[in-house]
């Protein structure tokens, strides 16, 4: 099902949503692109991938899980209530939307993480087609179409005079139906609205199938991993900004008479991540880098039949020493 809408009506429709939901859009906050509450004066346009991925709206860098009050004679625990309140995210890119789907089994399978599941349930995902290749990105190599997505509720393409919307979910359909904001469109119009991606490369950098086929064989090759990880400085920014990295730590904060246990991001790039009393299986940097790449392209795939990378390019452009994952993947494939 396809719909169309003018920018003015889209703002009115979103204004209507605001009565029941927070509306978040990509915006620059304190010099950093992220997703934040919008006043809806304007619609997001000509923006690239945010620096902080929308993952943080579902799996925040800091999440209180429980608290306690204690005295000499007693200790009472209280569970942190799961997040509530409806929200809509406008302007999600196809790569980031896919990343949310990739993370789903991690948090929902076997033991369901109520913080993640509630964040998914309470959020309407409104995707938007990319118009230009983001710096450092390799989404198409990862099989992601920058102009389409089925990982959201509604997906928008900009056209002269407004937007076309592809309806993906029942939730999206129900919300678009209210009022007379949207008009009918067609698959023909939708297909005609596909644009050439600005700055698109002529040839892919690497072949994902070859990476998947060879990453396991590469695992024992210590020289290879030493070589490709040589300049890594263990800063962990690639993991913090990665839309699919999900390793975390559990920590306690004790204050007089009360305390909080929270979950915070952690990183396999840090030497302390696997440190035990008498042994650290990943004391050396090359082992940690190997773990990160192998987990994403091999182990995660074995467990969940999806590669834990969407080619967003954040790790490439924010790496302080220009360690380019694309070059490493190309080397693995060769």
């Amino acid at each position: 099902m396809y719909l169309k809408i003018t920018p003015k009506k889209l703002i009115q429709w979103l204004d209507g949503l605001k009565a029941q939901a927070e509306v978040l859009t990509p915006a620059k906050v304190d010099g950093v692109w992220t997703y934040t509450l919008s006043d809806l004066q304007t619609l997001p346009q000509h923006y690239f991938n945010s620096c902080i991925p929308p993952k943080s709206l579902f799996f925040p860098s800091l999440q209180a899980l429980l608290g306690w009050r204690s005295s000499d004679s007693s200790l009472q625990l209280s569970s942190t209530p799961p997040p509530d309140g409806q929200r809509a995210i406008l302007g999600l890119r196809p790569c980031d939307a896919r990343a949310l789907r990739i993370l789903e089994p991690v948090f929902l399978k076997d033991y369901q993480d109520v913080f993640y599941s509630q964040n998914l349930l309470r959020t309407l995902l409104l995707g938007q087609a990319c118009r230009a290749q983001c710096q450092g990105s390799f989404c198409e190599e990862m099989g992601i179409d920058p102009q389409d997505s089925v990982d959201v509720d509604l997906f928008f393409r900009e056209v002269p005079g407004g937007y076309l919307a592809r309806v993906i979910t029942e939730k999206g359909k129900d919300l678009a139906r209210g009022g007379d904001f949207f008009e009918e469109s067609s698959a023909g119009e939708w297909n005609a609205a596909r644009r050439e991606i600005g700055g698109k490369r002529d040839n892919p950098i690497f072949d994902l199938e070859k990476v998947k086929a060879r990453v396991g064989e590469r695992f024992p090759d210590e020289d290879f991993w030493r070589r490709v990880s040589d300049k890594c400085i263990n800063c962990g920014i690639c993991t913090y900004l990665c839309p699919t990295c999900h390793c975390f730590d559990l920590c306690d904060l004790q204050m007089p008479g009360q305390g909080v246990r929270f979950r915070c991001f952690d990183s396999c790039a840090f030497p302390g991540f696997t440190k035990m009393a008498v042994h650290n299986p990943r004391e050396e940097k090359w082992r940690r880098y190997r773990q990160r790449v192998s987990h994403k392209f091999n182990f995660f795939y074995q467990n969940f039949q999806a590669v834990a990378c969407v080619g967003c390019g954040r790790c490439v452009i924010h790496c302080p020493v220009n360690l380019d994952l694309r070059e490493v993947l190309l080397a693995i494939a060769q």
């Binding site: 200790l75 569970s79 799961p82 559990l250």
Partner: protein
């Protein structure tokens, strides 16, 4: 507090009370604990080999196996060597103090594969803790198993854990128990030597036998070699793997080796399984 919400929060521990603290060695203590909620004392169950996350509120959580046996419910026991932040905090606790408990997590020893076999337990130091859960379990259902041999080693006589168990097993005519220390003293009557050396000396038959081992990584490494020399095949050898853990739920990523999460897919593995996936990281 919203009860329904609490049940859904997988990170929320149960409150337990310490009912007894037993000093095992200079740096190791065993804690007996009981659920504060009386209904949980009845409904809680686990299997030998499973572990839990134990909290000292304000210091954090740490992972230990449940060292008591599922055949001896009423209380749970776990043993802690003092090495880091949470273990130091645990060692400060006394009878009556509250602690947090999440579990049981992970898989368990394969009782169905042990039935009708000879069992050879090989433990080192605090590594006796998970084996002890299984040993009590098989002792309590003794008729299901054939010969049971326990080889246990520590650095010195003062470093032997669970001396009260060693004594009771020693007095049980249906068990063979061999203890060894790296360095003895004037009163020491057991063997002197490293566990793998003593294993090769006592030469247990591999026929119809399952070996279950747990101890420091270096001991396990050489014990596996000795077992191979004695004719044990990889499917006859079981061990528990140690990896840093935080969540115990297969989410936080710490204990991941290859496609496995030690917390969820382990901690009990056969040597056959380990050889298939463990690379150069162990």
């Amino acid at each position: 507090m919203n009860e329904q919400v609490q049940e859904k929060n997988i990170y929320q521990p149960h409150l337990m009370e310490i009912t007894k603290v037993i000093p095992e060695t200079g740096d190791t203590k065993t804690f007996h604990i009981q659920f504060q909620d009386a209904s949980l004392r009845e409904s809680f169950s686990f299997l030998a080999g499973q572990f839990a996350e134990y909290s000292v509120f304000g210091e954090g959580e740490a992972t230990f196996c449940i060292s008591s046996s599922p055949t001896r419910m009423g209380r749970l026991e776990f043993s802690v060597k003092r090495v880091g932040r949470v273990t130091h905090a645990l060692h400060q606790l006394n009878e009556g103090d509250p602690i947090g408990f999440r579990g049981p997590y992970g898989n368990h020893f394969p009782l169905d594969k042990l039935k009708g076999k000879n069992l050879l337990f090989i433990g080192g130091g605090i590594g006796l803790a998970p084996l002890r859960s299984l040993i009590h379990n098989v002792v309590d259902t003794r008729a299901d198993y054939r010969e049971i041999t326990i080889l246990y080693g520590a650095r010195s006589p003062q470093d032997l854990c669970f001396r009260y168990d060693l004594e009771s097993w020693g007095g049980n005519p249906t068990l063979t128990i061999v203890t060894t220390v790296d360095v003895g003293d004037n009163n020491w009557k057991g063997k002197v030597g490293l566990v793998p050396m003593v294993l090769e000396e006592i030469k247990p038959s591999s026929k119809e036998t399952i070996a279950i081992t747990c101890g420091p990584p270096i001991m396990i490494r050489y014990t596996l070699k000795s077992l191979e020399k004695l004719g044990f095949t990889p499917s006859q050898v079981w061990t528990t793997l140690e990896m840093k853990m935080k969540c115990g739920l297969g989410k936080c990523g710490r204990c991941n080796i290859g496609p496995l999460y030690v917390c969820k897919d382990g901690p009990v593995f056969s040597l056959e399984e380990i050889q298939r996936f463990v690379s150069d990281e162990f």
